[in-house]
Symmetry: D2
């Protein structure tokens, strides 16, 4: 069976990473075209064996050979690109965030549904070997009934302030992964949320109207409690830890490190710091999410991270922002649960 | 210099542990008398070399040789015993909780101050080698400015329901240690708090009017955020983990285990579960708090866990209960900070 | 600069792995041809974009575009293929073992030297991120003067008995990596060796004239001592641990695991077993050794694992076999040190 | 039942530790007398409640109330004191080494047997919670048939050269524990041994006729192989690691640390170094061996570390020394196995 032909829209840092992964690590995919607002480096495209490079998205959308697109253009263009790709009959993998509001996500989803195409969202953690094993353990009853979940999400260092300004803020850009992780691991919906937050890393972030530190407690539809702690800066690498604790015990995902070297001396017993960013930490996950997308396209399977998940996560982010603004706990409307829980399985 | 002569009031499980520690591990203490509502086992007292055993507390309070008392009687008697011991001029070590209300704690403190005697409270974690090292690291600037604190406090299995009923509840009996730990590690006061909680371990605990699972987020006077998660049952031992995270990095206290044996086989790489309860986990801390108390008495030093700490912790517990009841965040009155922060050092 | 054109000779398990790595993970390499004694699967070659597939090695050796070969044919053909490739002016990467005797390795090396081509040997561990970091630590003086080295090398399960019979035996096939690792980490030569060994895993291995368990102690030219322990079967995965211990402290490489999930329950605190075989454990190393080979070819750099290293390791393996047969310690001739130490840098 | 009355002979560093442990942590023991060549500090004895202090060993041996003695006098006096204590009908705990030659140990054992008294030797590791759990795991078949054992025994820093000179040397003073540990864990006898050794820590040790670094490989009667590595100096604390590896998997005892604090920063992820010496590392073991001795006396049980174990270990040490001197492997005479194996159970 011949590979699925793919076009990649948007060749920034993430776009180049996904393209390379598709070419090198997803045998069932063939990247025929890449489109970017600026010229694509021909040497880069040559090395990857990609014949079509363009600044015109129609080179992908109007190419009948191209079955699927990977959208890694700037976030503001995501929904419009999804609608156009769906209209062109292309299956769609779209980086998160799809949008910062529920309505456009629902429109994107509706467009994909109407066109009968797959729409997968870039919640990469769902494909991480450790988180996947944790999810399997939860499914297998290893922790019994879930009582508590915990996510620690800390970036090694604060992003450039320009990024912060257009990122959507800590809740929509950063904690969005954590909201999805809680939903993924628990298979339950967040029904109540309270956020405390602060500007402790960099006052510049505060002046940009954002926060850099937050602790968010949640209550789930299944009765469990959860807590997310976020920071924009650790100084010791990308800190990604997860815990599901329940009636029988707990499952924890610890940090990963580039090496397993341990040095013992008068100074102590010193191990590696965690991976320095998401590229190293989630290397397998980034490959696996594209493999799964291509497999979903080829085998007609449901995607494992859909627009309904993006929608649910954005609603939680909005609630977190509301809690931050009102200093009060916020209840989420019941239809979040119904919609999302219903479609995910 | 001869040892400090001590009397122990209350010979339950904790009282016997403290007595044994005083006799065996605190060289500067001599336990002359033990008093209990029921008969003291003479063989036990003989083996420890304690000549005076009685059901009458005056055998201790009126003995001019006895310089200090350790109060491990039922909680309801603590304040009255402190007042009588202070009136008798005895230095006082009192197990937590001193009381469940601020007023009696203030009265107890006033009585001790008026009598010029030491009053130390049983916040054992302040004397744990790991937590003490963590505190020293914070003091030495290892984490820089504190951004976040985290306490995980989980009992191996739920206590008998009779204990739950008279315990004061999860916030006053159990999380009280966590409130103190946050204050101890941060040297800052909790100014705002939000508690989510649930009955997930045992419905019997709910019927007794208590909860068994809670996540409490706090905001400190120094701007840092904190989170405490509690459970009455792990099934995998006594889970006691702590983290202070700041502008330079983090300090974490991991669980301790009875052995360091690791078994590798088809079934996985299996290490010991944590110590099964507080006796094993805080063995050194229980000895160290009494050593420090005796040293404070002998050398006229301030105690390292005083009535002001008990008072501050109880105010936080009351706020947690209020948050639980109102489902709202609760601000603590500013005088908590002033009083306690001022007196602790 | 255009990629280096490569031909791969031998498309067994290792050959396919190297080919895939060259295509996907070594951007500076282009695999033009693969040669195998049996037909190459065209779908596999198509997917990798390899135009030339043949059963005739001349399709590689006589192709003037092909600059370098990767030899992964059966071990018995290695030396002859090296000689022919050198005669054809191709740079050579050859899987270990080059040969089981010093003389043919010397001939292979002489052929490469005479032809002015690179000859790199597949000592993959030298390119493992953890071992490389350990080597750098040793170079940086982190352990001070080396006092002891330790290598634990244990396969997850015994290979098929047919493989054992033609493998060259535990010392030449398996411990050869350990001998090289000791030399690599210490930058010193083994001057004395004593081997104890046994058949404990599978009596069939004994009947095939081999052993499955061994402990080998060595003395190095620099005065340090070393110990290697080998087993053909762990049941708990591929056990690869390393230690360099010296006057200032130690560096240890611990096992790697597929995930960082830790499960806590009544049954204990359970982590993953190590990677199940060399493919997972040394994934980065296999890529890095080919990248380094291609870089050496392109930039005229010395290879980091040469025929002199293969020669030295084989001499140690022969000494180990002699020790096993005589039950006596064996001294290695001084010229090992001179030759090898001189050429490695 | 009244406590067993004990006298302690020799109040050096170890003697004081054992005395304190007997008084504080062995409830069934009463230390009535301590004897030392020099005056015993009366304040120390007072604090421990020991009425009799003397420089005359007869104050212990002729006291009919004293049932058992703990011998911690200088090694050279051990055998003579055992003989006199046995003649006086006292049960005996004697610190290792009993002697450096088989003959006097056999005489000591014969004296104890003739007198019908217990004779326990200070192989403290047999009572360490981790090693005991490991032994239990081996007994329970967790590793299946034993294939390999490993002991890492490294002191934090070299002892004073005066101690080295009278210590009996690395094999008799230091590795003696490792020989016993191999025997204890495997329940098998060492039948062949090869030692490589060096002076790498301190040339002064070499001038004193001793070595400071050694690797000793052994073959056991049950077919398993073992390796011991020793060093007089780590700089990172007392390194005590153990492994039993077999047909089903492995059991490892890792180092213990004073705290579980982990610091993460730019500098790495830093944990505590191991305990700084045997006092901290084997605290529980030192208490447990005396508890077990007293229990053996009171309940007529066999001791868990007897003169036969001391004898077997010394024979192994002598073989190690012979191997060191001859640079050859040394076989141990078969009667070691018979004697010792027969009497241990």
């Amino acid at each position: 069976m011949k590979p699925t032909t793919v076009g990649v829209i948007g060749i920034g840092r993430i776009g180049r990473m996904h393209t390379k992964n598709l070419v090198h690590a997803v045998p069932d995919a063939y990247v025929k075209a890449v489109v970017s607002r600026t010229q694509v480096d021909p040497a880069w495209a040559d090395a990857l064996g990609i014949p079509v490079r363009s600044t015109n998205v129609d080179k992908i959308l109007k190419d009948p050979e191209i079955e699927a697109v990977v959208i890694t253009a700037p976030s503001g263009l995501h929904v419009e690109l999804i609608r156009r790709a769906a209209a062109a009959g292309k299956h769609i993998f779209c980086e998160k965030p799809v949008a910062f509001e529920p309505a456009p996500i629902e429109q994107a989803q509706a467009a994909a549904t109407a066109a009968g195409v797959k729409l997968q969202v870039g919640f990469n953690r769902r494909f991480d070997p450790s988180l996947l094993k944790m999810w399997q353990g939860v499914q297998a009853g290893e922790v019994g009934e879930i009582h508590q979940l915990r996510v620690t999400n800390r970036d090694p260092k604060a992003p450039p302030i320009e990024f912060v300004k257009r990122s959507g803020g800590l809740f929509f850009d950063f904690a969005i992964h954590d909201f999805d992780t809680i939903r993924f691991l628990s298979e339950s919906e967040i029904v109540e949320l309270f956020a405390v937050e602060a500007v402790l890393v960099d006052p510049e972030i505060g002046r940009a109207g954002d926060v850099d530190t937050a602790v968010i407690t949640v209550r789930l539809a299944n009765g469990a409690l959860g807590v997310i702690d976020c920071s924009r800066q650790t100084n010791y690498g990308y800190d990604q830890r997860f815990e599901v604790f329940g009636s029988k015990g707990s499952l924890v995902v610890e940090n990963t490190t580039p090496t397993t070297v341990v040095s013992s001396s008068k100074a102590g017993v010193v191990a590696d710091t965690p991976h320095e960013n998401f590229v190293g930490r989630y290397r397998e996950a980034f490959i696996a999410e594209l493999s799964a997308f291509v497999a979903a396209v080829r085998e007609g399977l449901p995607v494992r991270a859909g627009a309904d998940d993006a929608l649910a996560a954005v609603k939680v982010a909005a609630a977190a922002k509301a809690s931050h603004e009102t200093h009060l706990p916020v209840r989420l409307s019941a239809n979040v649960q119904a919609t999302s829980g219903g479609q995910r399985r």
